[in-house]
């Protein structure tokens, strides 16, 4: 028996090793509908001859496995020895490393605000000339992506520092189609219908929304997404741009109105599962689980495209699956089109080397996007218009990608664009105060005064 057991372990260990070796490059070059020409062309043009390229980013766990597999293609094609390290404290760690002079070659920023800050202090190297032009041409709504990665350098001049790669769509409402069918509800097409549906659910004795703002030290950020979505749905995009740059103050009545519009959902005890008071203490990762309980704690959950990672195990996403999403609708009466709120991660060079620039070049190949698209973990979406969208791992992801490609108005998460002290500070805490019952105008005044203090 013991021998059998040992043999079994040995076999398991061996096959595990094999499986591991196989996952190094998940798709064999030359096979499938990938754009291998872009890979071959890049490989022919690039030879780093074993140079080490270090990449530091925020992805961990399964996401790390996927980004490592994408970087493995870069290593294979260029001959570079590429190393990836992830950290959950990326924002602090990169600042310490840059200050002390031990930064990695390439850093992956989840927040443009932090990248802009580091560019201003001279820790980032501008990307090669022509990168911005490439992006404007090849990304959907290209100029807005270029703007996202363009910052003022230490000498006061504007350059393109950070390469956006991998995007999230935020304006989504998740729901369970069968629960809607059981209750006879229709997916709302306008904000007016959404509010009517919420009232209908309340009238039927149920609760429409699961809202969770908890996120440890970052508690409050899901509320900022709500407010930004409301801002885009009540005001033209120009006003949104003025708001995130503080050309119009936080105390402007249009901003306060957007906060109150969010409050119409989050501060209504009948609307929120567990009552409005629990929203701030419910973790955003646990909040969607209310959709799946029996009887359902709520019918809808507004959250970004990454949230399926926190659905119960085995949940299938899609029109015929267990759970689906609809676009967080806009007001029919306002005629502002279909604005989409999103976010993205940015690759920037923190320690200049030929390998770092070669990696940025690699991100411009179609294959760098396609091998990520075809994998489940990581929730990769790309605004690159030249890729084969059939390669998305499933139809849901493809539909999300389409939202990104077809957005009439695309705007980035405003709190990421604001200075860190506001966008990752007083805006978060202010929203927690607001949901807790504080007056919207008072909260806005506090946020504005913290912004003034940073100027």
């Amino acid at each position: 028996m013991k021998h059998v057991l040992f043999a079994g372990v040995a076999v398991a260990a061996l096959t595990a090793g094999l499986a591991n070796a196989g996952s190094h490059l998940p798709f064999n070059p030359g096979e499938g509908d990938f754009n291998w020409e872009s890979y071959e062309a890049y490989a022919a043009a690039t030879d780093l001859g074993g140079e080490q390229v270090t990449v530091f980013g925020p992805w961990l766990g399964p996401d790390q496995v996927v980004i490592e597999s994408v970087l493995a293609y870069f290593g294979e094609a260029s001959g570079a020895d590429v190393k990836y390290v992830g950290s959950d404290g990326f924002e602090q760690q990169i600042v310490i490393d840059a200050e002390a002079g031990s930064a990695p070659n390439v850093a992956v920023f989840p927040q443009p605000g932090l990248a802009a800050d580091m560019a201003r202090r001279g820790f980032l190297t501008p990307l090669a000339e022509g990168t911005a032009a490439w992006m404007a041409e090849n990304y959907a709504a290209g100029q807005s992506w270029v703007d996202l990665g363009s910052y003022t350098g230490p000498d006061g001049s504007q350059s393109f520092y950070a390469f956006p790669y991998k995007a999230d769509v935020k304006s989504l409402v998740w729901y369970i189609p069968e629960n809607f069918e059981d209750a006879g509800y229709e997916v709302p097409q306008t904000m007016e219908e959404l509010k009517a549906l919420s009232d209908q659910i309340v009238a039927d004795g149920d609760t429409p929304w699961c809202i969770g703002l908890g996120s440890g030290g970052a508690t409050g950020w899901p509320a900022t997404d709500w407010v930004e979505d409301m801002m885009l749905r009540t005001q033209p995009p120009e006003v949104y741009d003025q708001w995130v740059t503080n050309e119009i103050p936080f105390t402007d009545e249009r901003v306060v109105a957007a906060i109150e519009d969010f409050g119409a959902f989050a501060r209504n005890d009948d609307y929120v599962a567990g009552g409005a008071a629990t929203a701030a203490s419910t973790d955003f990762r646990d909040s969607p689980k209310g959709l799946f309980s029996s009887p359902p704690q709520c019918y809808m959950h507004r959250q970004a495209s990454f949230i399926p990672a926190f659905f119960p195990e085995g949940t299938e996403v899609g029109a015929n699956g267990d759970v689906d999403f609809f676009y967080f609708p806009s007001y029919e009466g306002k005629d502002l089109g279909s604005p989409v709120l999103g976010a993205g991660t940015l690759f920037a060079i923190t320690s200049d080397s030929p390998g770092a620039h070669a990696l940025i070049d690699f991100l411009q190949t179609e294959i760098a996007h396609e091998v990520f698209m075809a994998q489940q973990a990581g929730g990769f979406l790309t605004p690159h218009t030249g890729v084969n969208t059939d390669l998305y791992v499933d139809d849901t992801r493809k539909a999300l990608g389409e939202i990104l490609l077809n957005a009439t108005t695309f705007r980035f998460d405003g709190s990421d664009l604001m200075p860190g002290g506001v966008g990752a500070g007083s805006f978060w805490t202010g929203m927690v105060d607001y949901v807790g019952g504080k007056d919207a105008a008072a909260v806005a005044a506090e946020i504005q005064s913290s912004w003034d203090a940073l100027k």
Binding site: L60, G61, G86, D88, A100, F292, S294, P296, D322
Partner: protein, 380 residues
């Protein structure tokens, strides 16, 4: 031992009871964490660990009918079980989220189009219909059932044996040892010499030096992170083991010197003076007399320093883990297992118990010195 039953004073009982309460209070969260480490993420989200210990009647989330269909007597049939566990008892079930308890066990639900669904008390279901179910979305079953306690080793398997984690975990384990052992020994060596000098050698400014060491105890190490790393980079150490040993040594020294000096001062003066009279040098006194007598204090500080360096993440992140990621430590590896957005609770609970193993071993091996060392210098 020689107490006869009934002669214990009330005070002894009070002490025992309060010790018991304190221990229970301390152990309570640990037990919760331990139970959670044997549960899946979905279980942790659905119910508290205390309710997982006994059979519970709960309204369960929907489970979708699945299985291969058979053609029988012109009808298509899908049979299956709702639960893998054997002794589950279904008390009510339904097919709509509006009426999750519409049917009793063994009742048959009419789903329309001639389709019918039956769920028995043990959780088996039979779905029958006149047409093939191929390509159709199969119905969901809501149930209220009494489920027995259910635990899994999956989390431990994931942390310790999963091919993608195993290698990293093993590497991190040895890296942590590489950090911890020198980072424990070096400060003890340095501090023992310093403590002897501060306790038994007369030189001008000794009191001031002791005061300076005590003052350094209150300096937070966060203050020194960036300047020290800059210094390491300037002198060419950079990020690496040497840097992290030096950092741990520096951050540990004030406490070590203070603790050992207080203990050594309390050693009997006669012995040391006798040795001096017999012609022993300071070094001989230190090695032959002071060191053996100070063993409890050395051991207790070793435990402190070992636990602190073992559990350390901050110093390792700043001084050790470079951009190649080759020198990752256990704490960092565990944080990585939590995932990008840090939601994997069950992994956290499990990793806590995996990483606690070595400190526990060290603690139990040396615990008899811990109390004596803790009291070092405070009582004579």
């Amino acid at each position: 031992m020689d107490n006869i039953a009934g002669t214990k004073s009330g005070l002894t009982w009070t002490v025992h009871i309060s010790v018991f309460l304190l221990v229970a209070l301390w152990l309570f969260p640990t037990v919760g964490l331990f139970v959670s480490s044997f549960r899946t993420a979905d279980q942790i989200a659905a119910s508290g660990w205390w309710s997982s210990l006994s059979a519970q009647e709960r309204q369960l989330p929907a489970i979708r009918v699945e299985g291969d269909e058979d053609a029988r007597d012109g009808m298509f049939v899908i049979e299956g079980r709702l639960f893998e566990a054997e002794d589950v008892e279904v008390s009510a079930w339904g097919t709509s989220s509006r009426e999750p308890n519409a049917y009793d066990p063994d009742a048959t639900a009419d789903l329309g189009d001639g389709e019918a669904l039956t769920v028995t008390a043990d959780g088996s279901y039979v779905l029958t219909g006149p047409d093939s179910f191929e390509g159709q979305r199969l119905p969901r079953i809501f149930s209220t059932a009494t489920t027995p306690p259910e635990f899994t080793f999956e989390n431990y398997r994931n942390v310790l044996f999963d091919p993608s984690n195993r290698e990293g975990m093993a590497k991190a384990f040895f890296n942590t040892l590489t950090v911890t052992i020198p980072a424990t020994i070096i400060p003890i060596l340095v501090a023992a010499f310093a403590a002897y000098a501060l306790a038994w050698m007369d030189f001008p400014g000794r009191a001031l030096l002791i005061a300076a060491v005590v003052a350094l105890l209150v300096v937070p190490l966060q203050l020194a992170l960036i300047p020290l790393l800059k210094f390491h980079n300037t002198i060419g150490i950079g990020k690496g083991y040497l840097g992290v040993w030096l950092a741990h040594t520096g951050f540990g020294l004030p406490l070590a010197i203070y603790l050992l000096r207080n203990y050594m001062v309390g050693l009997p003066r006669d012995i040391i003076e006798n040795a001096r009279v017999d012609g022993a040098s300071d070094f001989q006194i230190f090695v032959k007399i002071i060191l053996p007598l100070s063993f409890p204090a050395l051991a207790s500080f070793a435990i402190f320093q070992f636990l602190w360096t073992w559990n350390d993440l901050l110093v390792a992140l700043v001084f050790l883990i470079d951009a190649t990621g080759e020198t990752t430590v256990m704490t960092k590896q565990i944080v990585e297992l939590l995932g990008t957005r840090g939601g994997n609770w069950e992994i956290l609970a499990t990793s806590a118990f995996v990483s606690i193993a070595v400190p526990l071993l060290v603690f139990f091996a040396m615990q008899k010195y811990l109390v004596r060392g803790l009291l070092a210098g405070s009582v004579k």
